[in-house]
């Protein structure tokens, strides 16, 4: 799926949370959305998911405006995972996956639950309550929920936040492998620059609601004369408000 964001803005009362952002993610590509806290990443993702109504501008998914087209049919091809959004803790992993599988209209649901739980090393936890899992396990359940419908467009908001390096690496490996085998476009918001360098084809840097730079990781590093993406991020985040 192709995601096209066109002159998207959001104003909350007198505050411009997102200012006129435009970008494109081509089919099967991964785009990193970077920026300091409060720069408008979550609001932008909210608008792309149809949760927040833009003040102006449009979000097109395969040419269809999420705010005007059959939102429900578009959402069945999209999914989202974030450690800040949880699944019902009192339900078992299997029950949560079943509920969301049904909401997304997944066919052969039982098979899909087994498949995704085996892939994410969750099979032995299927009958355990989600609230009783460790944060690493919960994170993988959240990822399993986000892939239950085999989405064509996936929004990942800090997918490895608060994970130990081992599990973080497992999740990154899994996303890489999954993408090789499946048709999937990803928008990844992350503060982990190594993760972004590893997973993303292109990167957008946001600051104070605006896109201040974009390009491949290599291009941005070279352009700003830094050694890696982290140093590049710090340079952009600490610079005055110029748009590149």
């Amino acid at each position: 799926m192709k995601l096209e964001v066109n002159k998207l803005s959001k104003k909350f009362n007198d505050t411009d949370a997102v200012k006129n952002i435009t970008f494109l993610i081509e089919k099967n590509k991964t785009l990193g959305l970077l920026g300091p806290n409060g720069c408008g990443k979550t609001t932008s993702i909210g608008m792309m998911l149809g949760l927040i109504k833009p003040t102006s501008g449009n979000v097109y998914i395969d040419g269809k405006d999420i705010n005007k087209s059959q939102k429900s049919s578009l959402l069945s091809l999209i999914n989202f995972a974030s450690p800040y959004v949880e699944l019902p803790k009192k339900l078992t992993v299997r029950q949560n996956l079943e509920v969301y599988g049904r909401l997304y209209g997944v066919k052969n649901l039982e098979e899909r639950i087994i498949e995704i739980s085996e892939d994410l090393n969750l099979f032995f936890y299927l009958n355990k309550k989600t609230g009783e899992l460790s944060s690493g396990q919960k994170n993988r359940v959240s990822l399993a929920k986000s892939l239950i419908n085999k989405p064509k467009l996936l929004f990942l908001d800090e997918p490895t936040a608060s994970l130990d390096p081992d599990i973080g690496d497992f999740v990154r490996n899994y996303i890489e492998e999954y993408k090789k085998k499946n048709e999937l476009t990803i928008l990844l918001a992350s503060h982990n620059m190594k993760e972004v360098e590893r997973l993303c084809d292109t990167v957008i840097m946001m600051k104070e609601g605006k896109i201040v730079d974009k390009g491949t990781c290599k291009e941005l590093i070279e352009k700003h004369g830094r050694n890696n993406l982290e140093e590049t991020f710090l340079k952009i985040a600490r610079s005055k408000n110029e748009v590149a």
Partner: protein
């Protein structure tokens, strides 16, 4: 309307109730306590009041039916609050489920929660106080349906408030029915109220429903016009509730509160 999605969302609440014995006990406990309390009050009035003379169980029947309304509304609110408390709100609203399907799923599941609490309490009242709500007969089905629709409407209005104002609106969820109880004339005839309050009361379906319950039990007569009036009013309130819910949802999308709900 896609029923498999409605079933999926209902399943979430079914699993939640099924997995927790304290939750089931909580659902049964409060209606049962109500039955005991109003059962004894009812007994006392039956002996001491000329109005209720020889009409054992009028108050208790009203208490059971009012509790049915109360539980319907609270069940609806609770299911919505569960999504906020579990921080599952964003997952729910980005799933390909329409608002109309969410409302339908919660409305249908609320009856399940309500009956878990009320069936044991209703059965308990028969041997303990010799009172059976089934004495109302066939009209009971229509009266319960009207009460249920109005209960769900109150639930819808409260959940609209939760979407509009966030979890802080939770306290209103608990208080909403207590506010309406005096105007609903659940335990007393409408003539008890001052005239100006009677005018307000008459725009609530509760008055027509509970007046008719007393009419059936005390006068042994059925006024289908009152039953019909109560039902139509409940449906109109329900439509109003749905409209308000849609407005609140649209407002929440405007303010961006859906993405942070529960935090």
């Amino acid at each position: 309307m896609r029923w498999h999605k409605i079933y999926g969302l209902s399943l979430r609440h079914y699993y939640l109730i099924k997995s927790s014995l304290p939750r089931i006990l909580d659902l049964i406990y409060w209606p049962s306590i109500q039955i005991f309390l109003w059962g004894f009050i009812s007994k006392f009035f039956t002996v001491s009041s000329t109005y209720y003379n020889n009409t054992v169980g009028v108050i208790l029947t009203a208490a059971i039916l009012y509790d049915f309304l109360f539980r319907s509304s609270i069940s609806y609110n609770m299911m919505f609050l569960e999504e906020i408390w579990s921080r599952n709100f964003t997952n729910l609203f980005i799933a390909p489920i329409k608002i109309s399907e969410i409302i339908t799923a919660l409305t249908l599941t609320a009856i399940f929660r309500t009956l878990i609490g009320l069936v044991p309490a209703t059965i308990l009242a028969i041997p303990l106080f010799g009172v059976s709500i089934f004495e109302i007969g066939l009209p009971l089905i229509f009266l319960l349906t009207s009460l249920y629709i109005f209960g769900v409407t109150l639930g819808l209005l409260v959940t609209s408030g939760l979407i509009r104002f966030g979890p802080s609106f939770e306290n209103v969820a608990w208080a909403s029915l207590f506010f309406l109880a005096p105007l609903g004339c659940v335990y007393y005839p409408i003539e008890i109220l001052p005239e100006w309050l009677q005018i307000i009361s008459k725009i609530l379906p509760l008055v027509h429903i509970f007046e008719e319950i007393r009419n059936i039990l005390i006068n042994d007569m059925i006024n289908y016009y009152s039953i019909f009036k109560g039902a139509i009013m409940s449906i109109l309130y329900f439509i109003f509730g749905v409209i308000i819910f849609y407005i609140s949802y649209s407002g929440a999308r405007e303010r961006g509160t859906l993405i942070n709900m529960g935090e």
